[in-house]
């Protein structure tokens, strides 16, 4: 028992330290600053600038949250405040199943539906010639993946709001919608931010599905219709050559470490906010 417990508590540190030790080789050679803020990526020449990949990750994550965030918020309000029983009975399994679908299936779906949709309809509609494999495709696939995750947290957040708060607002003459907009959403605001924060951390580390539709081109993306190359895709795509090029493994482990740290920070922040919220109740 105790051993299991110790493993659980130490695991985050072991993960971090393990990756750090592997990446020190590269860090001894080049400054971290240079690695993170240079876009010069030529492994054969020993140049490992991560900027392109970091920016791609940021693009994909931000756009996916822009898509998933409003959908989740509106759906959570719908399900907790308005929906009839049959809608709830339908949505619970829908959310559960969506949450259980493996990443690679989302990727296949992205290739089958989203990529052609962008290249054949959305692109031409906006007068653009695009391949479809793009930041936008990655973001849409990612958005659908993180929707059940964010939505479940939001539903919990709205469920924990006391009924009396609704009653107080209504008894002052507010309509249902005014109550939601001015009182409930405001009261739930820290919870909403946390849910989005956790969504970001989930999106930032997602690998296979994004990798399959995002294009994987090593140039800094300048718009959502351009291809990108996020950090997780970089790691996943190059594990093969990792051991044949000097320093390459160290560079990829550093990428994993960066990923780990960013995700941890978002996670910590959001969880902390949620725990503060619960203590207040």
């Amino acid at each position: 028992m105790v051993i299991g417990l110790i493993v659980v508590i130490l695991l985050p540190f072991i993960l971090g330290i393990g990756l750090y030790l592997k990446s020190t080789m590269l860090l001894e050679n080049q400054s971290l600053f240079k690695l993170l803020f240079s876009s010069d990526w030529r492994p054969l020449a020993g140049k490992f600038g991560f900027l392109t990949f970091i920016l791609s990750s940021v693009w994909v994550t931000v756009v996916s949250l822009l898509i998933a965030g409003p959908i989740c918020l509106l759906t959570a309000i719908h399900l907790t405040q308005y929906a009839k029983t049959w809608v709830l009975r339908l949505m619970h399994p829908v959310i559960d199943i969506l949450a259980g679908i493996p990443s690679v299936i989302f990727g296949v779906w992205g290739i089958l539906i989203i990529v052609p949709f962008i290249s054949d309809y959305l692109g031409p509609f906006l007068g653009k010639q695009v391949s479809g494999y793009s930041i936008l495709a990655g973001s849409i696939v990612l958005a659908v993946m993180i929707i059940p995750f964010i939505l479940n947290i939001l539903i919990e957040v709205f469920k924990t709001l006391p009924d009396e708060l609704r009653e107080a607002s209504l008894s002052l003459g507010a309509t249902k919608w005014q109550t939601i907009k001015l009182v409930l959403v405001r009261k739930a605001f820290p919870g909403i931010i946390s849910a989005f924060g956790l969504g970001v951390s989930r999106a930032f580390g997602e690998t296979i599905a994004v990798l399959m539709v995002v294009g994987n081109v090593t140039t800094i993306p300048k718009g959502i219709f351009q291809p990108g190359y996020p950090l997780p895709a970089l790691i996943a795509n190059n594990y093969g050559e990792m051991l044949s090029i000097p320093m390459y493994d160290s560079a990829l482990m550093l990428a994993a470490l960066v990923l780990f740290i960013v995700v941890m920070l978002f996670n910590l922040g959001s969880r902390f906010a949620i725990s503060q919220l619960e203590e207040k109740e």
Partner: protein, 253 residues
């Protein structure tokens, strides 16, 4: 009774699924008096109170039948806007639930949502009602602080001010002192006695002594039914029903 009746409830029944929560409630609530609804917990007091301003609408599983007449309008079947109707009644719940905004905006909330947004008007009203709830002196220098920063007793008075600010005729109070310390409780009780000059007050409680202190009119409920009702003297000094006697003696259950 010689005074005017404010609320007339006739044949009110309320079901949740197959369970009947309120059974054939017939009740006349006098104007500008304190009517106390007494009874052990789970007897339907709170539900009765909530059906008065139709908060029961919130719970689709509740089925309400019967009539509730307020000022000659049957509120269960009214054509009037429910938000208007609710503004006729201020609600004070068991624990204070301040809205997630600052003190000033809590009081101004009801006014703002009904479209009165002029700052000078709001300033005046906020001050007036905070004074009415005996809170003004304590908060006048920190109106922009979040309402949650107040003590629980202050919060309950803030909720009172907030309810009064929409200019109701009726105050509905659901065990308004149950979460408060004795001093804050006394302040609320005193306030109620003062407020009955202007308002019809309906209060739910299970604190017998509190009922004795402030009630003009008493309704005793048990298991969803009204067992006995009458003036405070009638019910407290000469209860007719055996259950009421037991409850008043405190030998209940």
């Amino acid at each position: 009774m010689d005074q005017k009746t404010k609320i007339t409830i006739s044949d009110l029944n309320l079901h949740i699924g197959k369970q009947q929560i309120l059974k054939n409630i017939n009740l006349e609530i006098p104007e500008k008096k304190i009517t106390v609804i007494l009874g052990p917990s789970g007897c339907g007091k709170t539900t009765l109170l909530k059906s008065l301003n139709r908060l029961t609408d919130l719970y689709p599983e509740m089925k309400v039948t019967g009539n509730i007449m307020i000022d000659n309008d049957d509120i269960l079947h009214t054509g009037e806007d429910i938000t208007r109707l609710r503004q006729k009644m201020g609600l004070l719940s068991q624990r204070p639930y301040p809205l997630p905004m600052n003190i000033y905006n809590n009081v101004a909330f009801g006014l703002r949502i009904s479209g009165r947004k002029k700052k000078r008007f709001l300033d005046k009203r906020v001050e007036h009602y905070l004074k009415m709830a005996n809170l003004w002196d304590e908060v006048k220098d920190r109106l922009k602080d979040p309402a949650s920063a107040l003590s629980i007793g202050q919060q309950q008075r803030l909720c009172l001010a907030r309810g009064l600010a929409v200019d109701p005729d009726i105050i509905l109070a659901d065990e308004p002192t149950s979460a408060l310390d004795p001093i804050s409780s006394e302040a609320i009780e005193k306030k109620f006695v003062e407020l009955k000059q202007q308002y019809t007050i309906v209060m739910v409680t299970h604190v017998l002594r509190q009922a004795r202190r402030i009630a003009d009119y008493v309704v005793f409920m048990y298991l969803g039914e009204i067992i006995e009702q009458g003036t405070a003297e009638e019910v407290f000094d000469n209860p007719k029903e055996e259950i009421t006697k037991q409850y008043l003696k405190g030998t209940f259950n």
